[in-house]
């Protein structure tokens, strides 16, 4: 039997014996894991069949065709980042212990990377991990953590050696979010809502068996995680006139009494820019699929973030005095990543984060300049110094 037929057979057996429309979600997803179709490229016994990653589509078609929910939507950090990282870098039977409940979504995961003092400069992070017998003792604060309030486990990047160069002194762990000393608080945003959390760690003990990769090798392990993050994001809509610009056109259509010729030209200019980026996204996908990606794929984030802001700024100008009203600043729905779905005024406020989250526009322009256009790097104040000697603040 060839690999594709094996995947197909395994997936069919799952939906026959654990009909996703009838059994609880966790049972269905657990069965997917046991049958090797949770992530087909993983080894047998760890949720996979040891076949090519491309064959996941064969399994997904059958599983989702039968009404199965894509677990990525429920446990994005777990499925997108934690599973591949734990598989690749976990010691002993750690992967066997952790992957099944991750796959079934019994355990939600989160990622503890960013800190108040380490945003763009992630490798400068200060949360400390000190070895104590068979354990590590962790102290510090993390920020902008999605799902921390619901997560059972976290991917944690911490500083194990402040005397080493900053990229060399980091170690990567799996942390139990129910361990003593872990405190999660919602982080309220300027919109009034809280999509994210802050996580405080005070003398949290992590067994050394939960270390991923070698001591001091955390940056390299983190790159595995971030590479997976990059490949799990993307695929923006290719439909004309959706997203922020769709909101603006909708508003224009709904409120003829607010129209002026000047605003009409302004909106036409924004629509044209949005269309140019939509076509550029399409072109990038086309060239990626033909195996010759060009520079066009690198600009999407920086453009769409700034365009979102410009479009909602237009909406506010269009609305005039109405723009100064607001729906409700009451904190509700903690942790729901749906802040952008409020009224225009809330979407306008939410858009301020677009040029910061997922790489600031300043850092992204450096990346485009250096990695895409081949320009030289800037002078750095932190090169060749141990982390503890680098100015911080």
């Amino acid at each position: 039997m060839d690999d594709s037929a094996r995947v197909e057979k395994a997936a069919r057996q799952v939906v026959e014996e654990h009909d996703p429309k009838k059994v609880p979600l966790r049972e269905f997803l657990g069965a997917c894991y046991d049958a090797g179709v949770a992530w087909v490229h993983f080894p047998e016994g760890l949720g996979g069949l040891g076949v090519s990653r491309g064959l996941q589509a064969v399994a997904d078609e059958i599983l989702q065709g039968a009404g199965g929910i894509n677990p990525f939507a429920i446990n994005p950090i777990g499925h997108g980042m934690a599973a591949p990282t734990v598989l690749e870098h976990g010691q002993g039977d750690l992967a066997a212990q952790l992957l099944r409940p991750l796959a079934s979504t019994e355990h939600i995961w989160c990622q503890l990377f960013s800190e108040p003092g380490a945003g763009s400069d992630l490798a400068g992070l200060a949360t400390s991990a000190v070895r104590d017998g068979d354990d590590w003792v962790v102290n510090g604060q993390k920020v902008w953590t999605s799902l921390a309030h619901r997560a059972r486990y976290a991917l944690l990047l911490a500083r194990s050696d402040p005397d080493a160069f900053k990229h060399k002194g980091l170690t990567y762990f799996v942390m139990d979010m129910q361990a003593e000393g872990v405190e999660t608080r919602p982080l309220r945003q300027m919109t009034g809502q809280a999509e994210f959390n802050e996580v405080y760690m005070s003398d949290v003990r992590i067994p050394d068996s939960h270390r991923l990769g070698a001591v001091g090798d955390g940056w390299r392990v983190a790159m595995t995680t971030l590479m997976n993050e990059r490949s799990s994001i993307g695929g923006t809509s290719s439909v004309r006139g959706v997203g922020a610009i769709g909101d603006a056109v909708d508003l224009w259509a709904a409120r003829p009494e607010l129209r002026t010729p000047v605003l009409r030209d302004k909106l036409a200019a924004l629509w044209t820019r949005a269309e140019a980026q939509r076509l550029t996204d399409q072109r990038a996908r086309r060239s990626a699929s033909t195996g010759s990606p060009g520079p066009e794929g690198s600009i999407a984030k920086v453009v769409s973030a700034e365009l979102n802001q410009a479009v909602y700024e237009f909406c506010m100008e269009f609305l005039g005095p109405e723009a100064t009203l607001y729906g409700d600043y009451t904190l509700r729905d903690i942790g729901r990543m749906e802040d952008y779905r409020g009224g225009i005024q809330q979407r306008f406020l939410r858009a301020r984060a677009n040029t910061i989250e997922g790489g600031t526009s300043e850092v992204l322009r450096n990346v485009i300049g250096e990695r895409v256009l081949g320009l030289p790097g800037d002078l750095r104040a932190d090169s060749g110094k141990p982390w503890k000697e680098i100015p911080r603040g």
Binding site: L267, L373, P376
Partner: protein, 390 residues
């Protein structure tokens, strides 16, 4: 059977065939050898402003002046995307000559008239494609009424600016006894104009009873004009992309070699970020120009919308890239000896031709905004609690 299957293989938007890549390479190599900057500078300060021998070679030996002319009209039956590839290279090299008048406008206008236009028109088209004769098109933009009048076999009126107006043949829209007509004339008093961009010539044309031949009248003439303006818009956009990419390459090379404060200037974030923005401008221009070419070729989008998006984007972006090129080159970028000003002037000129960016935005607004119907997706908070939850 096999041949038919190959010919009918659908084109994939944004994916160039190996033949198109070879075409690009051939044109680029010829222009590098025969139309380098020194040659362009010599030609732009002499008459007729281009090298007729090179023009004939582009038409004859390379056969790249009428690639989209169908076989039944004596062409090679290529595609608009083929011609756009060539226009892009012409733009990158600032090729002097009647690129817009002949390749961009006159040839598409004659193609639109089809095989029923008679032997004289067929012979003219053949000569234009071969590069042995040149032509320009004098029509008002966006369906306005022409200022020229016709008695049927003569033309009267003054055309204050005709791009490539020194060409052998002028194809002129005029109001005749039976309404709109498209006429060909070799006459008229042509006065060369001093132009901002010396590589793209213009002339003032006084038609005082100039003998003319009616090519088409009424709806046939109107649709030929509309077709020519669309194709011209696509090819002008492709030319703008070629020029903008050339400037980005030049500026990158400069930022990677020029030293100030002991560093390559490209290491400064102020310079690096402007270059990143230039990349965005070039890539947006490229996406819209290519989309318009494929959309017209394959009928996959509203052609007027696709062309206006391309023209609005490319006109603005080429000018901004050209301005940034001067800025990042510093003082040398403002000198006569440096190539930056040649491209800057072309960018400004291109932006004004076949409709400004503002004129195309006007058309986009008419096509997209004016007919938009509310969907109720965008909610507006009115200050009374809990009304804004989408």
């Amino acid at each position: 059977m096999a041949d038919t299957a190959v010919e009918e293989a659908p084109s994939i938007e944004f994916v160039f065939t190996s033949e198109q890549k070879d075409l690009r390479k051939a044109v680029r190599e010829l222009l590098a050898a025969r139309s380098d900057e020194a040659t362009v500078r010599t030609l732009m300060e002499s008459d007729p402003g281009h090298d007729p021998q090179l023009w004939a070679r582009l038409g004859g030996e390379l056969g790249v002046l009428g690639l989209a002319v169908p076989e039944e009209l004596g062409g090679v039956g290529g595609t608009l995307v083929d011609q756009a590839v060539v226009a892009e290279e012409f733009g990158a090299a600032l090729l002097p000559g009647p690129v817009l008048g002949t390749v961009g406008l006159a040839i598409p206008a004659l193609v639109a008239l089809g095989s029923g236009a008679g032997p004289e028109t067929a012979a003219l088209l053949e000569a234009l494609v071969a590069g042995t004769r040149t032509a320009a098109l004098a029509v008002p933009d966006f369906g306005a009424a022409p200022s020229v009048t016709s008695t049927g076999d003569t033309l009267n009126g003054t055309l204050s600016q005709v791009v490539d107006g020194g060409a052998d043949v002028l194809i002129v829209a005029a109001t005749g006894p039976d309404g709109l007509g498209l006429y060909a004339t070799e006459g008229g008093e042509r006065s060369p104009l001093s132009t901002l961009d010396q590589t793209r010539r213009q002339a003032r044309v006084v038609l005082d009873g100039a003998p003319a031949r009616l090519l088409a009248a009424g709806d046939t003439a109107a649709s030929a004009i509309a077709h020519a303006l669309r194709v011209g818009g696509v090819l002008l956009a492709a030319e703008q992309v070629g020029g903008a990419q050339k400037l980005l390459d030049m500026t990158l090379a400069y930022a990677n070699t020029r030293l100030q404060f002991g560093r390559k200037i490209g290491s400064f974030q102020a310079v690096k970020h402007r270059l990143a923005d230039m990349l965005v401008l070039v890539e947006h221009a490229r996406s819209t120009a290519y989309h318009a070419a494929w959309a017209l070729q394959d009928g996959t989008d509203d052609p007027d919308l696709a062309v206006s998006v391309a023209q609005a984007t490319c006109s603005e972006n080429y000018q901004r890239v050209a301005a940034d090129t001067i800025q990042l080159h510093g003082g040398i970028g403002f000198t006569w000896e440096h190539a930056t000003h040649l491209y800057f002037k072309r960018a400004v000129t291109d932006a004004a031709l076949l409709g400004s960016a503002a004129a195309h935005r006007e058309r986009i607004a008419a096509l997209v905004l004016d007919p938009a119907e509310p969907t109720g997706r965008a909610t507006v908070a009115n200050g009374v609690h809990m009304t804004d939850q989408g």
